[in-house]
């Protein structure tokens, strides 16, 4: 169980990026965090991974306070994080990166397994460098594969659909569904995609640094759709 208690964060020149956020994510729960750009979603994910420290509040993993743990310590405690913008490395191969993620020397066959899961033809990629020769979509899928290889208690994905073409998108949904069935852990995805929202157990809407709504998709999706321009227009008509 991952719990956030009264988390607040502000940066120089920008107050109230996160305001007193409290939430809990149960074991095996599939949660999608959504909301407008600039609302604080990515900040929250980075905070769970330990990349950013909160100004106040507490983060608990299975009851243990991890607020002051470093990125490395949190990774070892069971938190994985797929970056919104994957990092490039000159000279580090896809095989190296997946091996590092899994924490052991993976055989080519084992590493290829993870690549196939994210829809990459493994043989073509396994020995390639994770550098600028890979497209944004390819990097994104490799990034997801690194998280799959870790098999941790908590897996965070920051906008995994960004840069992924429509054909692959269906596979991506399958990846998350399969992951949800197989690992006994929590999955947290930041996403704007309705099809990802559709497979969530719980949806949390973050806007302007605050949780404005949370609940099942039935509870949340309805109200989300009503906040669109169209609804407002209708109101004005009345």
């Amino acid at each position: 169980m991952l719990e956030l208690k009264n988390i607040s964060y502000s940066a120089e020149g920008k107050e109230g990026i996160l305001k007193n956020i409290s939430l809990s994510i149960a074991d095996n729960e599939f949660v999608v965090i959504t909301g407008p750009n600039g609302g604080g979603k990515s900040t929250l994910a980075k905070m769970i991974a330990g990349i950013i420290s909160p100004k106040s509040g507490q983060i608990l993993l299975d009851g243990q306070d991890i607020t002051t743990l470093s990125i490395t310590q949190r990774a070892k405690a069971g938190i994985s994080f797929a970056f919104q913008q994957p990092v490039r490395f000159k000279g580090v191969t896809v095989h190296d990166l997946i091996s590092l993620a899994s924490g052991k020397d993976l055989s080519t066959a084992a590493a290829c397994q993870y690549l196939s899961e994210v829809g990459l033809c493994a043989r073509d990629y396994i020995d390639r460098e994770v550098n600028a020769s890979l497209s944004g979509g390819e990097l994104k899928r490799i990034e997801i594969a690194t998280v799959l290889a870790r098999k941790t208690k908590v897996s965070l994905f920051d906008e995994p659909e960004a840069g992924i073409d429509l054909w692959s998108f269906k596979n991506l949904i399958n990846v998350f569904e399969k992951m949800h069935q197989e690992i006994q852990g929590s999955i947290v995805i930041i996403s704007h995609q309705e099809r990802i929202l559709n497979i969530a157990d719980k949806i949390i809407v973050i806007s302007n640094g605050e949780i404005t709504k949370q609940g099942t998709k039935q509870q949340v999706l309805q109200s989300l759709l009503c906040q669109t321009e169209g609804c407002r227009f209708m109101k004005e008509e009345e």
Partner: protein, 306 residues
């Protein structure tokens, strides 16, 4: 062979024993062993200079030449001239490399001046590793020179690596390429402490359809200093590319001084240089996989210099 010699031979030339094929092992300025084959002749110089001529017969395929040079004494100043004559259509691997073990207080210096003459269609892969070791305060200095004359449609690839222990190095390489000739140089350097490394390349793309690709990757740690100079002159319809990629750490300093000159309308020349510390997001990513900051740094450098 003693253990120091053995260990250095292993490090610079991947040799675990006396190599098969043609070889010359130079130890403290003297030949420790030499072997020619039916297609590769190794003969000592007769003009008074110290060194050897390596003559590879035309059409020689799948053979290798090992010519490591080792220095295990302090205060040695070893200057050697080695010339390689590669016959038409030959396709061979040459493994050079130099190891300096200095336990004394005086400097040990190895200066290897290598000239390559590639005939038409000849193909050479030249591998050169430089290593310094030993407990002494005497400096370990290696100054290699490589001068290449690449004949019509010949191909030369040079892989040069210096990862530890060499206090000072000044590496000078030059090449002249004829029609259709190709040159690829891959250099990897890591410096520590107060080491200095200077590299200069000067390439004349004289031939129509000739091409050169110079790739340097380096890491400068502690208070070490590196200078990378590259000059490419495109004198015909040709392609030239040089790339200097460096990571600086601690108080390391790297300078890249490229010069490309197109003396012909159809010359295409490119230079790229990037110097900087390890990107923060690279460290962060590896830390989210459970590596410590030090381990992440190590992984990034290992990959970069692989």
């Amino acid at each position: 062979m003693d253990t120091i010699l053995k260990s250095l031979l292993e490090q610079v030339a991947d040799l675990h024993d006396i190599p098969v094929g043609a070889y010359n092992i130079r130890n403290n300025g003297q030949s420790e062993g030499r072997n020619s084959t039916a297609s590769i002749q190794i003969v000592p110089k007769t003009d008074g200079k110290s060194g050897i001529d390596i003559i590879v017969k035309e059409n020689t395929k799948n053979e290798s030449v090992h010519i490591p040079a080792i220095i295990t004494q302090a205060g040695v100043n070893d200057l050697v001239y080695n010339d390689f004559y590669i016959g038409e259509n030959a396709d061979i691997v040459i493994v050079a490399g130099c190891g300096v073990h200095n336990n004394g207080t005086e400097a040990s210096i190895h200066e290897g001046i290598h000239r390559f003459f590639l005939s038409k269609n000849a193909k050479v892969k030249y591998i050169e590793k430089h290593v310094g070791e030993g407990e002494g305060t005497g400096e370990r200095i290696i100054n290699p020179q490589t001068h290449i004359e690449a004949g019509e449609n010949s191909y030369m690839e040079m892989d040069t690596v210096q990862l530890k222990g060499v206090d000072s190095t000044n590496r000078i390489s030059s090449a002249k390429l004829a029609d259709g000739a190709t040159l690829v140089i891959k250099e990897k350097i890591m410096t520590h402490g107060k080491q200095t490394a200077e590299t200069s390349f000067e390439v004349e793309l004289d031939g129509k359809g000739s091409s050169a690709n110079l790739i340097s990757r380096s890491v400068a740690k502690d208070n070490s200093k590196q200078v990378f100079r590259s000059i490419i002159n495109g004198n015909e319809q040709c392609y030239g590319h040089s790339e200097c990629d460096a990571i600086i750490m601690d108080k390391g300093i790297v300078a890249a001084i490229p010069e490309i000159t197109a003396n012909h309308l159809d010359a295409t020349l490119i230079h790229e240089a990037a110097i900087g510390k390890i990107a923060g997001d690279q460290l962060t990513k590896l830390m989210t996989l459970g590596l410590t900051e030090k381990e992440a740094e190590q992984q990034i450098i290992n990959g970069f210099l692989k």
